[in-house]
Amino acid sequence: MKTSLPLKILNVIGLIIMVAIFAMPFIWMISTSLKTLGETMVFPPKWIPDELIWENFISAWNSGPFLQYFMNSVLVSVGILIFQFITVIPAAYAFARYEFRFKNVLFSLVMVTMMIPAQLIFLPVFLNLSDWGLLDTLWGLILPFATSAFGIFMLRQTFKQVPEELLEAARLDNSTDFKIMMKIMVPMAKPTLITLGLFNFITHWNDYFWPLVMTTTESARTLPVGIAQLRQVDGGVAWNILMAGNVILVIPILIIFFFAQRHIIRAFTYTGVK
């Protein structure tokens, strides 16, 4: 089918508007982060600041213990990632490849947990953590997510697709089950593991709710909580500083997205497409 030229142009204009609706806010964010405070308070707003005020980033960074927030964020995201691989891989392997009593009961438990959001159980978990002295610690942010029901579910699907013959060949090669899992199954599930890893890392890097609720002091706070608190600085809102802080939070994710767009989209749309 041939489309006429005016229609084509109309289509492209439509696409540009669409991109603008979703990308402009980020450009606006960056633009604001480089303005003086005065420049944020003009109407109609300015898109390009007269002078690029890079100091805004330094001010944002210095307005709180941001190095600590940043380190906490890294430790929590990476810690969760490591713990999840340790717990998810064997569980998924067992559910995919063994027959055992209570397997169905235990797997139902996994499925039920998949449907329990953090927002439902934060209050009792908070009380537990406070009893166990884990409030305000990184453990309190890591341990509840030390495994992932979704991860087990997804990896189990992948493991189930590995042909039985391959495992039999390995058994005849006198391989232990653990070695079968690590040397044959895990390498074959690499795309799934990358997907899961990206999904988890981004989710927990971005998470605001859990660290907000489970910390009461700066010691275990993560970047999103720190950034959210920039707002309370000096009464009025300094939008330029605030946006600078958010640029710091968003840029790493946007960079990862730029390089691994395919993987990330796959990671986030997996459940719906399956």
Binding site: L15, M18, V19, I21, F22, A23, P25, W28, T32, M41, V42, F43, P45, P90, A91, Y93, A94, Y98, F100, L106, V110, V112, M115, I116, P117, Q119, L120, I121, F122, L123, P124, V125, F126, L127, N128, P144, A146, T147, W205, N206, Y208, F209, V213, V225, I227, A228, W239, L242, M243, N246, L249, V250, L254, F257, I264, I265, F268, T269, G272, V273
Partner: protein, 289 residues
């Protein structure tokens, strides 16, 4: 071969323990707390039976919270899905241009809600915000988006839709691409008009994806917290207070642990119903195939 018998249990144990300790036990603990009165500091928890639930249901503020939550959820899901449906039909094409647009549209989904909340707070700033500037370009009055009880909830819905829509669009596109081409070829031979083709082929074939999105959308919206906590704190005049924020407020600010737990139990009931519905329809679908 003795150890082989225990191996699967050994393999699933770490995950199962985490689930039991951090997800399953808390549910029961919360139910237990909901029957008690407790302020977190005092050593005693007083048993009050259904007292907390009675208080909740007779509290006009709580009823408003439920109403806000339902409104927020309903409109967020409705707009997200219908707009995503339109966009997916438009964007379901090959080529770098479309994959770029798809990526751009999806990008809000992977950004921290903290940044999204603050960014939109700034965009919706009544005096210097971008949105009012856009309105002024087409000659409209400034709107006090987030500061007026009449518009605050709608503003939060706009933000949620903006965030969701890219994700929804990509899911629907995946659904569209899984429709067998021969169905359309048959329709083309019959000279079926486009809208009929949509109604008779596309829409029914998409219904599993749309159903999935509806449930995911509801589950996601019903637990909204971040934007409210950062932007409105439930205000102005309680107009944006929703269930999870209400639980948080009562538990962490007013220390009404039992009362907050009771609200949590209500959320649990809602989520359970939705989950059961989801699995029921899902298993039926599998059955029919």
């Amino acid at each position: 071969m003795r150890s082989a018998k225990w191996r699967p249990y050994f393999f699933v144990a770490p995950a199962i323990i985490v689930f039991l300790v951090f997800f399953i036990q808390p549910i029961f603990y919360m139910i237990y707390l909901s029957f008690h009165d407790w302020n977190f500091i005092s050593p005693d928890k007083t048993f009050v039976g259904l007292g907390n639930f009675k208080d909740l249901l007779s509290d006009p503020m709580f009823l408003e919270v439920i109403r806000n939550t339902l409104m927020y959820t309903f409109f967020t899901v409705l707009f997200s899905i219908s707009l995503a449906l339109l966009m997916s039909i438009w964007l379901n094409k090959q080529g770098w241009m479309y994959s770029f647009v798809q990526g751009a549209v999806f990008s809000p989904h992977i950004i921290s809600l903290v940044s999204i909340a603050m960014l939109w707070m700034w965009i919706m700033d009544a005096d210097y915000g971008l949105l009012n500037w856009v309105l002024s370009l087409v000659g409209l009055e400034k709107v006090p988006w987030l500061t007026d009880p009449n518009t605050a909830l709608s503003s939060l819905i706009i933000i949620a839709v903006w965030k969701n829509i890219g994700y929804f669009t990509l899911i629907i596109i995946a659904g569209l691409q899984s429709i067998p081409k021969h169905l359309y070829e048959a329709a083309a031979l019959d000279r079926t008009p486009p809208w009929r083709r949509f109604a008779k082929i596309t829409f029914p074939m998409l219904s599993p994806s749309l159903f999935f999105l509806t449930i995911i959308g509801i589950l996601d919206s019903i637990k909204v917290f971040e934007t409210i906590s950062i932007i409105t704190k439930g205000g102005p005049l309680n107009s944006t207070n929703t269930l999870v924020y209400y639980i948080y407020e009562n538990g962490f600010i007013f220390f009404k642990i039992g009362y907050a737990s009771a609200a949590g139990v209500i959320l649990l009931v809602i989520l359970s119903i939705l989950t059961l519905l989801y699995f029921k329809v899902l298993s039926k679908r599998v059955h029919y195939q």
